[in-house]
């Protein structure tokens, strides 16, 4: 009898400890598009001093790295060191005071669903960002939702935004017949023109070549990088139906989307 009481007392104290610990959410994300893959997902739990993106405001360099190249931290791309979200937020999987964040790796293919556990470390808000590929600088964003505290399942629909840090030329970065105006740099990800991620293994079709440019036009073999910010709802890819000519190297019958582009289901466990 005494032994039983001791055991239940121990259980109670354990339960009390677990209540005071931070909640581990289950975060499920579904790609609702038919031909846009999601780059590794940045998930941030944070307080009101952190704002990963804000419509109507210029993008940070961290957002530009994410939206143009899908890069969140040094491990993904050393060139981004000091300018990426890791620099902005602090070390990964750490209670950085104002925030804690994690990169959920791998590509999320069109129509696919993934879910992951995420320890919020008692921060009140949640943001989630991921680049849409193939695009110039489109990203799917969850903008500082208040993390629900009641146990249950909560569904959110996310829209596609334009980071505004690169003109939407819709040109295949694999092309060598076009270079960045002024610098002569090859097309590619961060800081240069061109659509990133065209060769991703989750692609639905190969990109075309020979497009003359959509949001910017090729002049004498050069294309301007440019800006079209601040951050706003993306006006969608245009694409065209000629893989060897036309304005775009994207396909208008394949690469377009309509909002929302993602569904996020957050499960708050019973304590």
């Amino acid at each position: 009898m005494k032994f039983t009481k001791l055991a239940s007392a121990t259980l109670l104290s354990l339960a009390a400890v677990s209540v005071s610990q931070a909640v581990t959410l289950d975060i499920e994300i579904t790609n609702l598009t038919q031909a846009q893959s999601f780059t590794p997902r940045l998930v941030i739990a944070h307080d009101d001093t952190v704002d990963a993106f804000e419509v109507g405001q210029p993008a940070s360099s961290a957002l530009a790295w994410l939206a143009e190249a899908g890069v969140i931290d040094d491990e993904q791309n050393a060139d981004s060191s000091g300018a990426n979200f890791e620099a902005l937020l602090g070390p990964v999987d750490t209670d950085n005071g104002s925030n804690t964040w994690h990169r959920f790796g791998g590509l999320l293919a069109p129509k696919d669903t993934l879910s992951y556990p995420f320890d919020t470390m008692d921060k009140p808000y949640l943001s989630l960002l991921s680049m849409l590929i193939p695009t110039n600088d489109a990203f799917v964003g969850m903008d500082s939702i208040e993390i629900p505290t009641e146990p249950g399942t909560y569904t959110y629909y996310l829209n596609a935004y334009d980071a505004g840090t690169e003109l939407n030329d819709e040109l295949n970065s694999a092309r060598t017949d076009v270079v960045e105006a002024g610098t002569g740099n090859a097309l590619g990800g961060y800081g240069v023109p061109g659509v990133a991620g065209g060769g991703a293994p989750t692609r639905i079709v190969d990109l075309g070549t020979g497009g003359t440019g959509v949001g910017a036009q090729i002049v004498n073999g050069e294309i301007e990088d440019g800006e079209d910010g601040p951050v706003h709802i993306h006006r969608n890819a245009l694409g065209d139906t000629d893989s060897a000519a036309g304005a775009s190297d994207l396909d208008s019958t394949v690469h377009r989307w309509l909002n929302p582009v993602a569904r996020v289901v957050i499960t708050v466990p019973a304590s």
């Binding site: 038919q34 139906t241 208008s252 309509l258």
Partner: protein, 282 residues
């Protein structure tokens, strides 16, 4: 006459047993099984049992009554007849990322929603359904449809609606098991709907593959241009629709449009595509 022989054989058997006992080794191998005996004859039927006592009356025989009204929010996409289904949680007429059922395919390509309803009726979660039966024109409100479910089921109620956009290959709008549980009499819930691509037909936008008036005006359309058993889309999976490409700008230098399309820019649509209002009236 036979007795001595029998006795002799018994004695032999006994001695064999004794020898086996004294042997202390393993027993010998089993002999082959004998042939199966013949089946016996069936017994006679027993007498019937007595009737059971009557069951108790149900707790509540009342019905909950709902009306559903659909508004077409598009500029020029007529809506095919709607399947409107009330059911319990657990059932889905379709799931994003998965291949569409044949009922969804027939509805999304040709407009007839009746198999979507019969597929739902096969589920133990099914409660009631209506087929609106007519075309709902662009920019207009449909008639109120009435559905009745047992009042006991009102605490776990889902609404599924599927409607083809007829000037498309296989686009459909509606609701996928929207939660309408625990509505009190007089309560109204409004849903703004997205549009899915059924993933069962390539979006060629040609006269021969779409049933609606845009295809008819180009010499195609109708039933022959509706359901086709072949699944030839980019992926055989339901997902959100990307919108129609149309023939706009097909032949200018941008090549943005689809030259095989019989649609014009006027047939474009966006989300929300329809409004669905459900009211509990009793």
């Amino acid at each position: 006459m036979n007795n001595p022989i029998i006795k002799l054989s018994t004695l032999l058997m006994l001695s064999a047993l004794l020898a086996a006992c004294g042997d202390d080794g393993d027993t010998g191998p089993q002999g082959p099984a004998g042939p199966q005996g013949e089946a016996g004859t069936d017994g006679q039927d027993g007498t019937d049992g007595q009737d059971g006592s009557d069951g108790q009356d149900g707790i509540n025989g009342n019905s909950a009554v709902y009306t559903v009204q659909i508004t077409n929010l598009t500029y020029s996409q007529p809506f095919a007849p709607a399947a409107v289904i009330l059911h319990e949680s657990g059932f889905h007429s379709f799931n994003e990322g998965e291949p569409a059922s044949m009922g969804i395919e027939i509805m999304a390509e040709g407009g007839d929603p009746s198999m979507v309803i019969t597929e739902a009726m096969d589920s133990t979660d099914f409660l009631d359904a209506q087929n609106s039966g007519g075309i709902l024109g662009p920019r207009s409100m449909g008639a109120e449809l009435t559905l009745v479910v047992p009042e006991l089921d009102a605490d776990d109620l889902r609404l599924t609606v599927t409607i083809m956009l007829v000037n498309t290959n296989d686009a459909f709008t509606g609701l996928n098991a929207a939660n309408v549980s625990n509505m009190a009499v007089g309560d109204i819930k409004t849903f703004m709907t997205v549009t899915w691509d059924a993933g069962t037909e390539a979006n060629t936008e040609t006269a021969a593959t779409m049933p609606g008036p845009a295809a008819s005006a180009a010499g195609g359309g109708g039933e022959a241009a509706g359901y086709d058993v072949v699944r030839d889309d980019l992926a055989d999976a339901v997902r959100l629709h990307q919108g129609v490409v149309t023939s706009a700008n097909a032949d200018d230098p941008s090549r943005e449009g689809l030259s095989t399309s019989v649609l014009t820019e006027a047939h474009r649509f966006d989300f929300p595509t329809s409004r669905v209002v459900i009211t509990r009236t009793r």
